[in-house]
């Protein structure tokens, strides 16, 4: 099948190859979790930020580090605690005695991949500072704006089980994340592989030194993804889906316009990962759960069932000749 439809609109073969390399690199870092890797890549290519909701020790940091090395960027990590201040994240001005001037000390946000561990332990004030940086890709310290890196990619984690002393992210803040995924426990064979790999003598992070993407290539790929072709029926389908989320009895907060834009972008990234030059309804379906679960106010915990219901309730676009094709023939 793929030989028939591998016909992307523009020539970005080397970008595809780079993404495939990145994908295998992440797969090597995180054993047996290719679907999670795909979701992370989708999020990265769609220029969004990722929220990982999972228990400790499942490889969140490993994944974030692997992403950072893969795209050849700087990696920073913030362990969120209640006493973390906004300036601990954004950076602050200090007075330089030599130059008799204030100079800016950049915080961890001035990196390419930022891992914000247990983000729900930070106070709302700190959370909002981080979220502003995520949305605007710049921070303002003492009325001076500082631009962040173009590839700036946040992986935030939160632990769903321990709720004591946490400040759950409000829905408005959650909307700034592009996706929410959970890694989950690896399968039996994946864990066996992991254990075997751990006792190998040369196992010590051999794979995280190499840089897989060229300078500026991620940005180029992200631009290509954002320009990937989306047919008119797909737009219509997305709008109908969004309308359905707003009238669903179990969804308290429907999909925002920002959410629908992110959904489309994620579907584009998904098509790109599939080496396809156009979005299909299947792409929309594939990214629906991570995109929607982060931003829909669903009044019970069974996200995937509700989202599955939602997808079933809206009819997919009909398979018919594109109108522009009809016009062309006339």
């Amino acid at each position: 099948m793929s030989m028939l439809i591998d016909a992307p609109a523009t020539d970005f073969t080397c970008d595809l190859a780079a993404v495939d390399r990145l994908r295998s690199h992440l797969n090597a870092a995180l054993c047996g979790k290719s679907d999670v890797v795909d979701q992370v890549l989708t999020c990265l290519l769609s220029r969004g930020h990722l929220l990982i909701e999972d228990k400790p020790g499942l490889g969140k940091t490993t994944l974030a580090k692997a992403v950072a090395t893969g795209i050849g960027g700087r990696f920073a990590r913030v362990q969120c605690t209640p006493d973390l201040l906004p300036s601990d994240i954004t950076g602050f001005n200090i007075f330089n005695q030599k130059t008799q001037e204030f100079e800016f000390r950049p915080g961890p946000v001035f990196s390419d991949v930022l891992l914000a561990d247990e983000i729900n332990r930070a106070t709302p004030r700190t959370q909002s500072a981080l979220l502003e940086a995520m949305a605007e890709r710049q921070v303002t310290v003492d009325a001076v704006g500082h631009r962040l890196a173009d590839e700036f990619f946040v992986i935030a984690t939160q632990n769903p089980t321990e709720q004591h002393g946490t400040y759950p992210l409000p829905e408005a803040q959650l909307d700034r994340f592009s996706m929410k995924v959970s890694i989950g426990y690896p399968g039996h064979s994946a864990e066996m592989d992991m254990l075997r790999a751990a006792v190998q003598p040369d196992s010590d992070n051999g794979h995280d030194s190499e840089r897989l993407l060229e300078e500026g290539q991620l940005k180029r790929i992200q631009t290509e993804v954002s320009q990937l072709y989306v047919a008119e029926p797909i737009h219509d389908y997305l709008v109908r889906l969004a309308a359905a989320t707003r009238s669903h009895p179990h969804i308290v907060l429907g999909l925002s316009p920002r959410g629908i834009l992110m959904w489309q972008r994620a579907a584009q990234a998904r098509a790109f990962l599939d080496h396809r030059g156009y979005v299909t309804p299947d792409d929309v379906h594939d990214v629906a759960v991570p995109v929607l679960s982060v931003r829909l106010g669903i009044d019970h915990d069974d996200y995937s069932t509700t989202i599955g219901e939602l997808l079933q309730s809206v009819s997919v676009p009909e398979y018919r000749l594109p109108q522009s094709a009809e016009l062309d023939e006339k």
Partner: protein, 798 residues
């Protein structure tokens, strides 16, 4: 405007608007013709306007893409409207036909409506076409009562309801969350219901047939249906409110220019002579001697004073004469018309004294009870009740109306248990008088022609008489008198033999009637051949066949010999066979002249006895159950009459229904083959359409929110016999539907073989075989049902 949005969006709704407009337009054409144009011409006009509208619709749809906004079509609509008006002078000048003004206005509106329906792809025009079609349909329904228009209006109403329902659901689509449960009717039941409705329509709704008339009158309307209903409003010929036929032409019977104004109107006696040959003077004069002296004197008196018009004796001795024409050779005009239930015995002359050959009429009553005028429902009715309802065997009221066209008499032909007479504006009681016992006449030379004479009467329910015994006490002996002769003695013995063992009273009367009806044959032109014996004895013992007056005479003589007061009555028989279903009346012609017998029940009440086979006595009106039974009997009769066609048609229909998908598959695959285009996109989409249709008809349905790929690959649809080819096709279809048009096109070489392969391997036969599913017959018999609520197809493996 919600309606507009819906009408714009859905192609189905646009088609619905066109269909409704065409229905309304067709209805108008039929109403416009008003029966003055042949069916062929009307059908041609309808076909033409439908074709033009559909062609226009297709054209507008094609050019719709080039318009961003709704185009201004008002010049076109204006041209259609003006053109419709300009057509009128041309039609009057060139074709010699025209329309009245109000019809012309609607004609113009109809054309504008059709033009707007053609442009229904723009919601605005669709909605206005719909509104105007409603108006046109209502106009057509009000303008005429043609059954075609009624059918079209009913179809229009049904279509409108369906359209509105679809519009509503289209509006809700996308706003609603599909619930888990789907309520599905079995398609077999729906199909069966449609078939039954069509059958019912064919049997009862359309055309003039016996099934339709047997269920008539369940709900009499206010307009000239001829049925009696106290709740109907002032209309023509309905309920208590009647309008004289001279005032309203639609009441019934001939219209003004019908050829009835002849001078030589036959009287009852001319009709007798024409019908029964001429009377001959009997040679055997002795019979009168046998009569009691007072009766003989009455005969003498009668013969002296007889008049030309009425109260003439009737001789049962007739002779065949060579005449040029016979009654049944010629097409005779109706003498008068009867509206109301038939069969009906309309009495004109009553006979009591019988001298063995000749019946002498009862003398006009000397004591003439006052006829009072009473007002019922604002109409003047002459109260002419002459019987007592003390017997409690009457039902009614029954109403009839007669309109005299061609009968020269001043007696009113009326049923036996007459209770009232009403003629238009006649409000004076002295216009009416009594002729003979129970026969009402008008105090003038002849009945008014063409004025409807309304009669109200009661109907005797003969089934209620079974228990009641007849009273023998009676005022006049003449109803029991018989001459004494050998023949009479024979007849008397025969009568006694017939009723032997039958309890006396009504059962004996009924037995005599039954015997005569069953063992003797009607021969209207038989005459007595032997002059020595009495004609009635010849009829009874030798010929065993004869005309109706011999039956009546025989019955009267036999009943009298058993002691029951009996009289012979002549008049007319309104034959149900001559009921004209279109004008809802029965014509009474010369050959409907008839003789029958009345027997005395007691308390001044008589009952009609019909000894002649082939003639029936009016029974009380059937109840609801009776009507249903009549309808069933009529339907059964129709089915029996067309048994071969019904069986062939049913078998064919069932066969087609069972094999419908196979036939459709053949047609669709053929279409796919013929329409396979070189364009890989079109080919892929057409192939997928065919494959999905096949899967659907085999019981696998793609859930609403599922894409083709998901459906074919999902674990839940593991029982789907999806092949690799199909899965490849699903990817191809995604490309065909959603890839940019300028993307590198796939070559025909890759697509065509795949599509061919998929079409071949996904034939319904293969699909069923892959699943080991039962054939169509087995499935129909087992009537298997799908589990409700399963979004995932769940074909039962029986």
């Amino acid at each position: 405007m919600r309606l507009e949005i819906s009408a714009t969006r859905s192609r189905l709704l646009q088609d619905g608007v066109v269909a409704l407009a065409l229905l309304a337009g067709a209805g108008f054409c039929v109403a416009d013709a008003d029966g003055n144009r042949s069916t062929l011409v009307v059908s041609l006009v309808i076909a033409l306007q439908s074709a033009v509208t559909i062609a226009g619709n297709l054209y507008f749809r094609r050019i719709k893409k080039h318009f961003k906004e709704v185009p201004a079509l008002s010049p076109l609509l204006l041209a259609v409207m003006v053109g419709s008006y300009l057509w009128e002078p041309f039609a009057r000048w060139a074709l010699g036909s025209g329309r009245p003004f109000e019809t012309l206005v609607i004609f113009s509106l109809k054309n504008v409506m059709l033009a707007m329906a053609a442009a229904a792809c723009w919601g605005r025009y669709g909605v206005w076409a719909l509104f105007s079609s409603l108006f046109v349909a209502l106009f057509s329904a009000a303008a005429t009562s043609s059954p075609t228009v009624q059918t079209l209006t009913a179809l229009y109403a049904a279509g409108g309801v369906v359209w509105l329902t679809i519009a509503y659901w289209e509006m809700l689509r996308g706003r609603l969350i599909a619930s888990d449960r789907h309520r599905t009717f079995s398609r077999h039941w729906i199909a069966g219901g449609v078939l039954a409705a069509i059958l019912l329509l064919a049997a009862g709704g359309l055309g003039e047939n016996s099934v339709a008339s047997s269920i008539q009158g369940w709900l009499p309307s206010s307009g000239g249906t001829g049925e009696h209903d106290p709740f109907s409003r002032n209309g023509v010929g309905d309920g208590e409110a009647v309008v004289a036929g001279t005032e309203n032409i639609t009441s019934f019977a001939p219209i003004d220019d019908a050829p009835f104004l002849q001078d030589d109107k036959p009287s009852l006696y001319d009709v007798f002579d024409e019908m029964y040959e001429e009377a001959v003077p009997p040679t055997n004069q002795d019979r009168a001697v046998a009569l009691p002296p007072e009766m003989a004197s009455r005969i003498k008196e009668h013969l002296h004073t007889r008049t030309e018009k009425a109260s003439r004796e009737f001789s049962t001795l007739r002779q065949s004469t060579e005449r040029g024409r016979k009654v049944d050779d010629i097409h005779s005009d109706a003498l008068f018309y009867v509206a109301g239930r038939t069969p009906l015995h309309l009495r004109l002359e009553v006979y009591d004294v019988f001298d063995g050959v000749t019946w002498y009429p009862t003398p006009d009553e000397e004591y003439q009870p006052m006829i009072a005028m009473t007002s019922r429902g604002g109409r003047n009715w002459a109260d002419v009740r002459k019987f007592s309802e003390a017997l409690e065997c009457f039902q009614g009221p029954e109403s009839h109306a007669i309109k005299v066209v061609n009968l020269d008499t001043n007696r009113i032909p009326a049923p036996l248990h007459l209770t009232g007479v009403h003629i238009g504006d006649v409000n004076r009681a002295d216009m009416f008088g009594w002729a003979q016992d129970g026969v009402v006449r008008m105090q003038r030379d002849r009945l008014p022609t063409l004025a409807p004479i309304h009669l109200s009467s009661s109907v005797l329910d003969r089934t209620l008489l079974e228990e009641s015994s007849l009273s023998n006490g009676l005022s006049r002996d003449t109803y029991r008198s018989l001459i004494t002769s050998d023949d009479m003695t024979r007849i008397e013995r025969l009568a006694e033999a017939w009723v032997e063992g039958v309890p006396s009273g009504w059962p004996q009367v009924a037995e005599i009637e039954r015997r005569l009806r069953e063992t003797y044959q009607l021969d209207p032109h038989a005459v007595a051949s032997d002059e020595e014996t009495l004609p009635v004895a010849q009829f009874l013992f030798e010929d065993r066949r004869g005309p109706d007056y011999q039956f009546a005479t025989a019955a009267a003589v036999m009943l009298r010999s058993l002691g029951y007061p009996t009289r012979v009555v002549s008049g007319f028989y309104a034959d149900p066979q001559k009921y004209d279903r279109r004008s809802r009346h029965t014509a009474v012609q010369k050959d409907d002249v008839h003789f029958w017998v009345e027997v005395y029940l007691g308390v001044t009440t008589w009952a009609t006895i019909e000894p002649t086979p082939g003639y029936e006595v009016l029974a009380p009106p059937p109840g609801v159950l009776g009507r249903v039974l009549n309808a069933i009997v009529a339907l059964g009769g129709w089915i029996a009459a067309n048994a071969v066609w019904v069986i062939v048609g049913t078998l064919l229909a069932v066969g087609l229904y069972v094999r419908r998908f196979d036939l459709l598959e053949f047609a669709l695959t053929l279409r796919w083959r013929l329409a396979s285009s070189a364009d890989p996109r079109r080919l892929a989409l057409a192939t997928w359409g065919l494959v999905e249709w096949r899967l659907n008809t085999c019981g696998w349905r793609r859930p609403d929110g599922w894409t083709a790929r998901k459906w074919l690959l999902a674990e839940e649809s593991a029982d789907l016999p999806a092949t690799t080819g199909m899965r490849e096709l699903a990817g191809l279809v995604d490309w065909a539907a959603f890839a940019p048009v300028d993307s590198p096109s796939l070559s025909e070489r890759d697509v065509v073989p795949l599509c061919r392969r998929v079409v071949r391997e996904s034939s319904r036969k293969n699909l069923r075989r892959a699943e080991g599913r039962p054939g169509a017959w087995t499935r129909l018999v087992s009537l298997r049902r799908r589990l409700p609520g399963s979004a995932i197809p769940n074909p039962a493996h029986s």
